[in-house]
């Protein structure tokens, strides 16, 4: 008799636990849906500010960037994503020659977003944008030129003591 009671009890306890499990899914039926409604939410979608979407070279209002074409980012890049070509320019007033940036090529297709280029850049010339919609039709379009047409290097502003400490 005892075994029969145990048998029935086992079935009933099992059934009860099944029902409790079904209660959990029932609760979830009415919970807020968690999926992102992309692309409907595109206007409201804000990526985190540190999100590494794509490498960019910020230019100021005078079409000037901060890149000195030193090549440290290129050297640090594990995948050969960055290719810098530089040219020498002679300053007309002083007659000094200096190396300036010609093209800053960035191949988004082989970038692994390791952040080494941005971390090691001595003049903070490059940074990340939060753009993540990278799809294009040909691979060639992923090879991007970061310095704008006709841009030149901004006059060096001496970093304040505060900034040096951070760097």
């Amino acid at each position: 008799m005892k075994s029969v009671i145990a048998y029935v009890k086992k079935i009933l306890v099992g059934l009860w636990n099944l029902i409790l499990g079904m209660k959990i899914t029932w609760l979830n039926l009415f919970r807020k849906k968690i999926t992102e409604q992309y692309p409907e939410n595109r206007d409201k979608l804000v990526m985190f500010e540190r999100f590494r979407g794509e490498l960019i070279m910020p230019h100021n209002a005078n079409n000037e960037h901060k890149c000195t074409a030193c090549g440290i980012c290129q050297m640090n890049c594990p995948n050969g994503t960055i290719r810098i070509t530089s040219k020498t320019e002679t300053d007309e007033q002083t007659g000094k020659t200096k190396k300036v940036l010609d093209t800053y090529m960035y191949d988004l297709g082989s970038c692994i977003f390791c952040d080494l280029c941005v971390q090691t850049c001595p003049s903070d010339a490059i940074t990340w944008s939060q753009a993540f919609e990278h799809s294009v039709y040909t691979r060639a379009k992923l090879d991007k030129k970061l310095n704008r047409e006709g841009s030149k290097m901004a006059e060096k502003v001496k970093p304040t003591a505060n900034e040096t400490a951070i760097n």
Binding site: I11, L18, G21, M22, I24, T25, W26, N28, L29, R31, K32, K33, I34, T35, Q37
Partner: protein, 359 residues
Amino acid sequence: MFDFKVVTDWIDTLLRVQLGLPNFWTLAIEFILVGVAFLAAYAVLALILIYVERKICAFFQCRIGPNRVGKWGILQSIADMIKILLKEIISIDRSDKVLFVLAPFFVIMGSILTFAALPFGKGLHAIDFNIGVFYLIAVSSLGIIGILLAGWSSNNKYTLIGAMRSGAQLVSYELSAALALMTVVVFAGTMQLSQIVEKQAEVWNIFNGIAAIPAFIAFVIYLIAGHAETNRGPFDLPEAESELTAGYHTEYSGITFGFYYLAEYMNMFIVAAIATTVFLGGWQPLHISGWEGFNQVMDYIPSVVWFFGKTAVCIFFALWVRWTFPRLRIDQLLKFEWKILMPISLINLLLMALVVTLL
């Protein structure tokens, strides 16, 4: 309550008397009309079910589900259907070509034949056999042949395992399902579906006094066994995705896969519909003795709504179970049937017989 016999009789007289057609042609036209109606209903119901399942599953999983084609994605299943129709039917190297093509037809025939014998509403009943319940059980097992053929003819090790599992599973669970239905047959004293429904006019079988106890147990057993027969929910071993990729229909594509897909959903509907007919009063409205006003209000709701409403509740329950529980293992599955469900069904049948003698 509207009786659909009015419509069918009108068509019959239209053909026979107004048009003056001989008996043969009248019947031929009627058969074709009924056949087309069934095929259309079959496909439309399956499409609705696929959409409903995807939506409900998504809601259980904190998702939204299909929401691209049409408002709330309601045209999604139609788009899927078009896609499946347009897809190439891939023929498998070194497979048994004849059986391979034949298999999906067995599966879909089994389910259409069952579907055609269901009483959908008052007077909306195509074939009313006097052995209706027997016919349903017999015909719905035809599908297993298709599944076994598919598994064998695909020349794939996964499909073979899936088919063998399916065979064992269906043969076992058929017993419990049949015994559960027999419980009601014992109570009603008839196998004719229309009579079983008719007898539930006052009170549905699962609420019917002392007989409610065995009837309710039988109802639960039938839902479990029927669920197992449709290869869904915790019993989806024949196509256990994480083990056998897609089980017996791994190698099928295009419309041949579509047949399995349709049949799977329609089998779910059929199981729910049989449960409705046999245990929940079919298309009969809910009556509570003594509440005359309430009963009259209930009578105003059309019989078809009652039938599909009850079926929908059963289907929702099936979906709820499916999207909550993990899958059983094959030996546990068979143990569950032969050591738990079968004994309970047999005892329950005896109990019902006892109840019937006492009444």
